[in-house]
């Protein structure tokens, strides 16, 4: 099969389409996912091709969307729901953490909950309040949920299908800033890596830089910039946030002796905290410096005119790399 150059938005769209073709039980639901194809057009064309019964525009109520999806899953469907923006997932929070996450456990495995909750997340798009947040830590703290974040078009295509095929509920985070940013070559005949694995996206020897979703690009740029100064940075795209795939991370840190984590979520109790705790516990004698964290500050997401100051960027990542060195 020929390869093609696609954006992340296209990769996700193709992944959804493929999953719907492969399994008639896959349903999409959300606000504006039908005729409009979603405000980001990720479901573009799918209602036209699969009908209103499979691509369902819902009333404007997130708890209702997730709660009815629970019932559909109980009836044997595999619902994929779209939350329009990160900041609007909270009305559904109760259904997600008390029902979606727990029904398999509650029923001692008798009731499966194969649901994907898609959330465009992260900032940098110049939006108003609630449109730029990073809620992943709260979901990763909740047993019963799996949480993944894609960072590029090819992963978007494969991870979406894998998440839909997974028999557990998956919170699927899509870096909205990247939707239409860069294109990549997709080979549909390739064999993807498993869903819940992290990936070294740039090999290095001096420091391990951990990122996911939107910060992977920043991390790659930081590694390039550091290389010009003779520092060899290994970049890992975590891809899975719960479970964490610690093996490649620990292996890397044992080699490099230093780690920096970067994400857009608030630093306080963000994924960086957990990674720091685990890395320190497992690599105590290998560490030359404490694990440093570069994230969103511990303030509400600010007005968009200063959002780039809130978000971790190349310079702040490099600054942390420097600080790690100086320890």
């Amino acid at each position: 099969m020929a390869t093609q150059k696609i954006t992340l938005a296209k990769g996700l769209n193709m992944g959804l389409r493929k999953a719907m073709e492969d399994d008639p039980k896959v349903l999409l639901m959300g606000e504006d996912v039908g005729k409009l194809g979603g405000v980001f057009r990720i479901t573009d064309g799918l209602q036209k091709d699969f009908g209103e019964d499979r691509v369902i525009d819902s009333p404007l109520a997130e708890s209702g969307i997730v709660g009815t999806a629970v019932g559909m899953a109980m009836r044997g469907y595999r619902p994929v729901v779209e939350i329009q923006f990160d900041g609007f997932v909270y009305p559904a929070y109760d259904q997600i953490v008390c029902q979606v996450a727990k029904i398999h456990f509650r029923s001692q495995g008798r009731v499966k909950m194969p649901m994907v909750i898609r959330i465009p997340f992260g900032g940098g798009i110049g939006a108003v309040e609630h449109h730029s947040e990073s809620p992943e830590a709260q979901f990763a703290h909740t047993p019963g949920l799996k949480v993944v974040a894609c960072s590029n078009p090819v992963d978007g295509y494969w991870m979406m299908q894998q998440a839909i095929a997974c028999d557990d509920p998956v919170i699927f985070l899509e870096p909205k800033r990247q939707y239409h940013a860069d294109k990549a070559e997709l080979d549909e005949s390739a064999t993807p890596e498993p869903l819940f694995t992290s990936r070294i996206v740039r090999a290095g020897t001096d420091l391990t830089l951990l990122a996911y979703g939107p910060t992977v690009k920043t991390a790659m740029k930081a590694a390039e910039a550091a290389a010009t100064e003779g520092r060899s940075i290994e970049v890992i795209d975590l891809r899975t946030l719960s479970p964490l795939d610690m093996a490649p991370v620990l292996d890397s840190v044992r080699r490099t002796g230093r780690a920096v984590v970067t994400h857009e979520a608030h630093v306080n109790l963000g994924l960086g905290a957990e990674l720091s705790a685990r890395i320190t516990e497992e690599c105590f004698y290998s560490l030359e410096a404490p694990v440093l964290r570069v994230g969103g500050f511990d303030t509400p997401y600010p007005p968009s005119r200063i959002e780039e100051d809130f978000l971790p960027d190349l310079d702040r990542v490099l600054d942390a790399v420097d600080r790690s060195w100086e320890f």
């Binding site: 109520a61 209702g64 997730v66 009815t68 109760d94 259904q95 008390c98 509650r106 001692q108 019963g144």
Partner: protein
């Protein structure tokens, strides 16, 4: 006091028409004129222009038996809690007719989403009552297989299950299992919830989704007048069944202490759903005769007078009177049911006491359908830790 009572002083501002409170009056102790009844508290058979139906002697005796046995489950469980065998128990005393009426109206393919008090419905579905006890004993969080009886697990977060029911019903639609005319195929879904739960956003969103998609779901609300210590008036100033009108589907109030009326009304609502006519709200007007749960003390917030007056409306007594008066049941029959109840009580007692505690390590099971290495490591770590104790003992 700053609150104005509804229906208070009229102003001369232009009219919005009367409030519904004025149209229907506030909720009344006797359920008001809209209450659908087929059997009075005195055991008299009355007729209703829309919901009347004939009942065979066998059916009537069946209702009686189910209610007596359900009540026995409840008393037994309450006693077991007092003896420390259960952590807590949510009593259904007084709500037997509402639950048996609703439960008996189901067909096998229908699916039920209960809250935490539907022991009578569970009974009708064939769920082993011992499994209900397991949850309240703390050995599991619902030990029955929902698929075996089309009876979901109890839901403790109030109202959440009404959305699950609606979504399930949307699945039924997608399977084409509504409106085919095939009585063994057309499927209805029931969501149980309480008067208190009716205030939750989830319940109202369920109404919206069900109306929007015309889903085959019956919202069955047991208005037992109380949400722990709060009277129904805190949740709604008009009769609760009228809530449905605001969402564009029918609501009815049935005497929830009348098993015949509850059965007839639920059956009709289920058929509406199966026929593809969409959702219905059934308000079963009843009373929580016991405490909210075994840890509750209702003397702190309600009058024993009220309870006394509701005793006169006992759901079982009226059927017994009717059966006897019409020669449909004799002493032998009643004694046989009592014997069956005693037997059931005994089985439950013994079964409950001998119910084993779960293994500590079972808490790591079924967190995921596809287990994670992370959690496996945690389990193994804890297993190894536990073994250090075994060794030291």
């Amino acid at each position: 006091m700053t609150q104005q009572s509804p229906g208070g002083a009229q102003s001369d501002t232009p009219g919005f028409g009367p409030d519904l409170v004025e149209v229907f009056g506030p909720s009344q102790q006797d359920g008001g004129p809209e209450l659908i009844q087929l059997l009075t508290p005195e055991g008299e058979r009355v007729h209703h222009h829309e919901f009347d139906q004939d009942f065979s002697a066998e059916e009537l005796r069946g209702f009686y038996r189910d209610m007596v046995l359900t009540r026995r489950i409840d008393t037994e469980a309450t006693a077991l809690q007092r003896h420390g065998e259960l952590g807590i128990w949510a009593q259904l005393l007084g709500q037997e007719a509402a639950q048996i009426g609703a439960g008996r109206a189901l067909r096998p393919q229908d699916y039920v989403f209960p809250t935490y008090r539907e022991h009578g419905v569970a009974w009708c579905r064939g769920v082993d009552p011992l499994r209900l006890l397991g949850l309240f004993r703390g050995v599991d969080q619902g030990g029955w297989d929902p698929a075996a009886n089309n009876f979901a697990l109890y839901t403790i977060v109030i109202g959440a299950q009404t959305l699950h029911a609606t979504g399930y019903a949307m699945g039924v639609q997608r399977d084409g299992d509504v409106g085919t005319g095939d009585p063994d195929r057309d499927t209805a879904v029931v969501a149980h919830f309480g008067d208190g739960a009716s205030s939750q956003g989830d319940v109202n969103e369920a109404f919206i989704f069900a109306a929007s998609y015309n889903a085959p779901v019956v919202f069955f609300c047991q208005n037992n007048q109380w949400a722990i210590s709060e009277p129904i008036e805190r949740q709604s100033r008009i009769p609760l069944y009228q809530r449905a009108l605001g969402f564009g589907f029918p609501g009815v109030r049935v005497d929830g202490n009348d098993v015949l009326a509850t059965y007839a009304v639920t059956k009709a609502a289920l058929q509406r759903a199966r026929d593809g006519q969409g959702p219905t709200l059934v308000e079963a007007y009843t009373y929580r005769m016991g405490a909210h749960t075994t840890t509750d003390d209702p003397t702190r917030y309600r009058l024993s007078n009220d309870v006394e007056s509701w005793k006169l409306k006992d759901p079982i007594a009226r059927v017994e009177v009717y059966l006897r008066r019409n020669g449909l049941a004799d002493d032998d029959f009643l004694a046989s049911i009592q014997a069956e109840a005693d037997e059931l009580g005994h089985t439950l007692r013994e079964g409950c006491k001998s119910m084993p505690d779960p293994q500590a390590l079972s808490m790591f099971d079924h967190v995921y359908a596809e287990e994670t290495d992370e959690l496996r490591a945690q389990r193994e770590g804890y297993a190894a830790y536990l073994e250090t104790f075994e060794g030291s003992h």
